[in-house]
Amino acid sequence: MSLERKDEYDHGAWLEEKDLSAVETTYLKSLMWLDKRFRIVDYLELMEDMYYKVNLQMPKSHTEQYNLDNKFWYWYPLYALGSFSVIAYIVAALTGALLGFYYAPSTAGQGDPQAYAQLVAIIKDLNFGFMLRSIHRWSAQVMTAAVFLHMLRVYFTGAYKEPREVNWIIGIILLSLTMVFGYTGYLLPWNQLAFWAGQIGVEMALAVPIVGEWGAQLLFGGFSLGQPTLQRMYILHVFVLPFVVTALIAIHIAIVWMQGIAEPH
């Protein structure tokens, strides 16, 4: 009796008892040799998995599967609102990157502030510029609307309940950040609406005791609006928020993936 532990997966012995032809033996041996080194089985499983998914029939709807009343189909478009806000976010990011090539966060200039003049140039001179700004603005509006409606859907179908509290809170943070995104973007054209909306922001910050003045200086670059405000809003809009929001969206979706989507029963 050997001291060596018996290998249950002795592929060599298995090969012996199979009584194979030379071609088969060579093939199988090289397959084992490669698999031992590269674990082909893992990748093969992945490919097999994909193969099944490609050949998948459309799944039964929830109501069919659970034999519930078949009058809940009208809920389902509402379940696309979350992914729709992501898509609007992607559209806004792409157009925003293009707009950023032509925009300058500057209030300098003799007549109109430079930021405003750049916007006029984008609209009037740049090929496709007006459409670009239009798409950026509309996708932002639509994203905000979709996020609000998404929250309502989650509330009214009770999808925030017990195992999913964390995602509800992340969702609230994302909703707030979406509004901050909108607000900072609203200020960038540096037109009358932007300036006076910024004024409200400074007043809100200053109303908070203790940290208010510090916050106003951090976010608005002082107690009255000017070049520092615009620059800070620009950096928030194109640098800080995109990273934070994208990371949070990734976590949000990862949690949905792990927990599955809560269906109304």
């Binding site: 249950e8 592929h11 088969e24 698999d35 089985v41 093969l44 499983e45 998948l56 799944p59 039964k60 929830h62 659970y66 519930l68 379940y79 696309a80 992914s83 898509i87 109109d112 916007l119 006029v120 007006f130 459409m131 700004r133 239009s134 509309w138 996708s139 639509v142 309502l152 009214f156 009770g158 999808a159 309940k161 017990e162 195992p163 999913r164 509800w168 809170i169 707030s176 909108g182 607000y183 609203y186 540096w190 037109n191 009358q192 609406l193 932007a194 300036f195 006076w196 409200i200 908070v208 005791p209 609006l225 949905v256 993936w257 927990q259 599955g260 989507i261 809560a262 269906e263 029963h265």
Partner: protein
Amino acid sequence: MSDNEPQTDGSGPGIVAPDDEVPSWRERKERTTGLSRLTYEYFERARREDQDLRQESSYVERDVLGFPAWPHETIRNLSLASFFTGMILFLSSMLPPHLGDPANPAQTPEVILPDWYLYWSFGLLKLGPLNPELSILGGNKLLSDPLYGVLANVVVVGAIAIVPFLNKGSARRPVEQPFWAAIGVGGVVFAFTISALAVKNLVPIEPNLLFDLTFLLPFVAAAISYAVLKTMREGYMYDLNRRYYRLRPPR
């Protein structure tokens, strides 16, 4: 419970083979001959080996109650999402945004407004009349009106954030919980009325009346939806209970 009955615990992919006669993928592979058959046998062994190793390790697989996001929801959503992207492009070509006058600190415009999605927050800043004047402080206010407004924002967001810690359980439909649905309807109506309050110089209603309506209408809407849902529930829940709670008893 027989095997044919639907499972509500999330087990099983919910995909039914077309027919009992149709061979499964395993059967198809077992029927093959030659090298593909050998490949199949070898990989079956290798897979079993992997599985045994996994079972020896401390790795734990957990069952999660839910509906798979991939591929079920993703496929469904993609078609809807491309439609919506088209809608964004359509909107932006039909209704391009207006670029107003350049910023002018010297000239205050008649209407100062943020974008529409911040109207509710802007409206909460105008709650000054609700800020109590304390007689202890000689009729002074404890909090300044702007701070009161900022705190109202914090309170609203905080109230939304604690909802999942207050409302637990497996009920999903509004009819199952008329109270929470009514709270939701009241909240939605309040979001609209407080937005109307924010733009009160644009709303053709007398300001005092508008202020009162802002706080009355949400309660009215909540009461109505509570009554409606409670009434619906009587007829509705009987059928639902029979079919559903039998399968998935409440905790």
